[in-house]
Symmetry: C2
Subunit: 330 residues, 2 copies
């Protein structure tokens, strides 16, 4: 196995305080590795990067049959902040199943959004399953089960028909049999798989080339970027800027996938230390190296994320991030 | 510069999801490197590891003159959770100066403790400077200024007499002139320095060998471990277990220092990715390799931290940490 590549350094004043290493794979829909940094065969858990792929059974049938809106398709692909609009849209999506929130098998989680959490606390409420950042995906999975006549009970289990169907679709796109890969349990209780990074990139490239249900997800994520993450979130800001040309999704433990709309390429980035904080500068560096970003018009909030600005508790900028990623073209 | 060493892997089920690399230096009071992993000359910011050293001017005069208690000395060395007892003790320490909370130059921060934050929100309060994890250190610095007749205004500035005095003491102990090192601004607005890791370890070893004011800090941290961090925190749990034999302190961006009471050795650990989450397993691995821990009696909460257990949102254990650190003895 190749060593990880140096991807970024975080500087506090005159001192390099943090070093971020990892792997990048840029892959065509046919599986050809087009460019890389570190080891494109380094294994990564898929985590929430694949939510737009886990949504395929939902989008392929249940979404239209149950009348799901574009917002609801977007939140099915989301790791959301638990802001009031997210919760409202997830509740609406869930209501299409006739089930209540106890049917969601993700655990309870305080909203990532501090403002949303404080509002709940002030109102005397507690963290619920609907506030879990994965609740949109889980509501969409329940829709798919209800629509397909699969049991609702146990929908998150490895052998449930829904999970088999998701695995079949993702395996076809990736060109790897996911059932044969090592696996673990994701934060929300669903199975997650460990695959060489290039298969994650290929999955996105192949899905984007195939169009169909995945294109529905891409369109929804571009039309409703807030629903995919929320206030100040990297994916939402990037989709809001260039969602017509690119689709992207972050996952836990610092994995990120992006894909050019249409034929790809697919891009997968893994920071080996699992710290998502450095992802925006690194992913933006990769997208720039691939000439996949416009030369102007970037929102100021995204620019600050790209620079990876460090702030002290008083709010002053005390450092920033230097991206070091160098892609080797194949 | 030597490459970082592999220090730990975090596994989610059957998949290695996170790789933690970094550097370890084990150093005698005279500066001799006794053991290492990675590069003992890798530069690290000192951050909050040196709070027990930044407290030396306070402990050397102001503490007794102003009647500070053992708890107050402990909180002067703390990165606390902002729990009610921490806030109460910091307020008592600050009251010895006759100044109010606006004199603290650390910015406002919601307590690290979720329970404490939610209690403030429920009470309609907001984040204050006194809740900042560094507020004990800042209150102690104000005590030192008042006692020494130094200006209170600007006490956090690089050229203020208090910061000069702290720098002089720390430089003497480390055997390096801190004024000549690259520097940055810490989260709480104080200067922080970038030094080769072995000087951080030496500083602790030399301070522990010297006794005097630093021994007062060590005794207070051992007697009041809760004040040094708070509920569930690694330093508090370790000090509560073996504080009579060891002193330790974590700092931001994943740096940690420990020292055997008396003559040392001093130990400094830096995870290069800046993620503190992996520190407990790695630091415990280093302490075990050095035979600095008892063979029994470890509290269950510390054992869970050492195992670096991963839990999903439902609270189930879904993974853990494998420590890989191998010390090379010099």
């Amino acid at each position: 196995m190749t060593e990880p590549a140096l991807l970024a350094e975080v500087w506090r004043g005159d001192v390099c305080e943090v070093v971020l290493r990892g792997h990048v794979a840029v892959v065509a829909a046919d599986g050809t590795v087009l460019a890389q940094a570190g080891d494109p065969d380094a294994r990564t858990t898929l985590r929430s990067t694949v939510k737009p792929l886990q949504a395929l059974p939902f989008v392929s049938g249940a979404a239209d049959a149950l009348g799901a809106t574009v917002e609801e398709v977007a939140v099915a692909c989301a790791s959301h902040e638990g802001e009031p609009r997210h919760v409202e849209v997830v509740r609406r999506l869930l209501s299409r199943t006739g089930l209540d929130e106890s049917a969601l098998s993700c655990g309870p989680q305080w909203p990532y959004s501090q403002a949303a959490t404080h509002a709940l606390v002030r109102a005397g409420e507690t963290a619920g399953r609907v506030h879990n950042n994965c609740s949109g995906k889980h509501a969409a999975m329940l829709c798919a089960c209800v629509h397909s006549g699969w049991p609702v009970e146990g929908y998150a289990a490895f052998d449930h028909p829904l999970q088999r169907e998701i695995r079949r679709r993702m395996s076809d796109l990736a060109g790897i049999r996911l059932a044969d890969t090592p696996r673990g349990v994701d934060g929300c209780g669903l199975p997650t798989h460990g695959v060489p990074l290039r298969y994650l990139a290929r999955m996105f490239a192949a899905a984007s080339a195939a169009g169909g249900a995945f294109a529905r997800c891409q369109e929804a994520m571009a039309a409703e970027p807030f629903m995919v993450g929320g206030s100040g979130r990297f994916d939402s800001l990037l989709l809001g800027w260039v969602g017509g040309a690119l689709t992207c999704k972050s996952g836990g433990a610092a994995v990120w996938a992006g894909v050019a709309r249409g034929g790809g390429p697919g891009i997968a980035v893994k920071l080996e230390s699992g710290v998502g904080a450095g992802m925006a500068p690194v992913a933006m560096g990769v997208l720039r190296a691939l000439s996949l970003l416009p030369s102007s018009g970037m929102p100021a909030e995204l620019e600050e994320l790209e620079r990876g600005v460090l702030r002290n508790w008083a709010g002053d900028a005390v450092g920033g991030t230097r991206v070091c990623v160098e892609l080797e073209r194949s």
